[in-house]
Amino acid sequence: MENNEILKISNITKNFTGVRALNDVTMSLLKGEIHAIVGENGAGKSTLCKIVCGVYGYDKGSIIFNNVVLPNGDPQKIKELGISMIPQELGLLPKLTVLQNIFLGNEKGRAGIIDTKKSIKISNDILSDIGIKLNLNTEIARLSLDQQQFVALARVLATDAKLIIFDEPTSTLSSEEANNLFNIINQLKKKGITIVYISHRLEEIFSFADRVTVLKDGVLVSTEIVKKTNKEEIIIKMVGRELLKTFPEKSRIMDKVPVLRLENLTLKNKLKNISFEAYKGEILGIGGLVGMGQVDLVNVIFGNEKITSGSIFLNERLIKSIDPSKAIKIGINFLSSDRRGDMLFMNRSVKENISIGTLKYRQKMGFINMKSEKGIVNNKIKELNIITPNIEQEVQFLSGGNQQKIILSRCLIKKPEVLLLDEPTQGIDVGAKEEFYRVIRQLADEGLTIIVIFSDMIELLGMSDRILVMHEGKISAILNSEEASEEKIIKAASGLKTKTE
């Protein structure tokens, strides 16, 4: 073992009932480094980390930590040795206080009686050490997501962790919150703690990681020093081919025929005086920091929430009241970012998932016209290149990208005029993302008006014909794609006036 090597993973192989999740992975971590692990969905990132933590056992290989051979699949023992993971679902108990959560399963005390004084002292030490202020008596449920993450981190630090694994910690955070987290991670690094950082977002990795390891299909492709590589190189390694042009070309002809018009739309405490037009055939991107009313805006247009005041016009006709069923009828459809929670019927078939919602238009005296249904579904499967063994397959067995295409095709069966998309590429892998961009652009070219929320700046700039930036429930800027820049968007998103239209 080298001097500053803290963890040595040798030839780890892991099978899940017939599927090889990891194949002969060998890598090492250096003391006090920030080591990023990247790869597409299913590449084996989480599996590898869970093996290190002992959540999963492995089939072959060995792991040595601080010159000690780690037990195979014994999370409690491994935690005691100083390796901890902060999973995506933080695993906090929402009804308990910050203090109770920090020492959950690790209570300080004697003879079963908790030493509250000691606990408070340790907690305060840990929190001030990483520069966080939290009321120890607050219930977890009352904290924001980033604060909850800090609690999860404090809990790990209370166990004297020497190696901390973060599993996509920023997926639910705004960029400001994410920056806070990076600062904290840097402080941990200074204290000599080794960090493993799993992420989809390459920007983050290039801003603060020391080394990056790429996994693909359970195989370690390479480990690079971040300063000596670049994003393109990493993407090629992740995808296994070159992504010459990620985004499809924008449409050049724009007649500016308004399809959807909002006038002084207000939703209590969430949206204030929203007015804008969306044109036929355009992709109108909605940007801003997370939680500034973007999601409320599309929900209001789709009728998921009732507006307090203001009006919505479709093709210059006032829509009096709207609910999802009516919205679909008049040609407005919606894809939520929460596929599993809001869109999919996981234990039902591909066929049913695609045809539901448009069955009304495909019936004879209340009976479903099975033949026509099958035909339409098969068409959509071919059109969007959905990969499934047959249309009776339950959707839970399909990949994220295919699930996303299924709900997209549901929205497209009865051709809408306006399509609302909330983070349509969230949680699908790079290759599938690219395909999705093409599909969205093609739909716009066919004349659909597409209103899409992107929190990823690159996507927002790459896909939108115009960009609407929101700040605290108001529109802070509407930018044309030629004039839009990362800087202008960030300015508008943080509430600085740059109104140009």
Binding site: S325, S336, F345, R348, L359, T388, A432
Partner: protein, 328 residues
Amino acid sequence: MNSIYNKTEIKRNNTKGVFVKIFSSYGIYIVIFLLVLISGIVSPKTVDPKNLIEILKNTSVIGIICIGQTLLILTRGIDLSVGAQVVFINILVAGISLGDPKKTFITILIVLAVGAIIGLFNGVIAVKLKIEPLLGSLGVMTLLQGISFLYTKGFAKGSTPPFIRAMGIGRFFNFLPISVVIWIFLAIVFSLLLSRTIFGRYVYAIGSNPKAAGIAGIKVDRTRLLIYAVSGVLTAIAGLIWSGFLGTPTLTGGQYLPLDSVAAVIIGGTTFAGGKGRIIGSMIGAVIIVYLSNFLTIIGLGIEWKIIAQGLIILLLVFIYVGRKSYK
């Protein structure tokens, strides 16, 4: 890229758990087959056609109730007041008609309407007031028992008119009980409704993911209320047959119906999580429960053994169904 993952995913689904899959899809058929086989060997009297018809006759009331219970459990609801409803309907039949054949039609009409109202009442509690239907319908059960007492003041009067009596004890060609025909007819109608109509698709969608159903344009609350009302009407029909069986109003009985009907639905493969299950499964589940008690009575074992055997079968099948879930 994408296709690689999909192939592995699909392969996992196809090769793994074939045994589990077969058993979880057909487990209930295997159970009833074994039950008939064993009972036939132990006591040939059980599989005598006459006795089999008797078993079906005794299944008709719980069978019809199970149709509604299946719809409810499919959409994450439940109704534990079915026993009290059946008793109340019987009392109502006797009380309204007083045995007068001329009042048959109006009695049936009123009783069906009452069934719909009770169902809707359960529905409003579950759907609009968002009270856990398990608790809500338990409250309605007690409420109905109280109303039954109030209505009769402890002594039920009147009797069942001949036509309704025939619904319970009448037979076509002196062989096939009318009640069985009504039951099987309803079972077929609702099977078709579930598998072939938009209503059926909505039932499965709501059960599978109510939030997604709303976003897909389904009027979720309205559909759920309709299901409760329909279930109430079905229970009222079961009540009419029950009334026909007994011929006189009585304040007792029916106490096994809530748990037996839920057990039959669960044995039949409908999941509490919603969105999965079929009428045919519940019907066979109901037959199994009645068959068991008939068989055990014939070989001279009492009700206690029926309950124990029923418990074991529920556990066995639930174990199999859980296996189906976990391999996913």
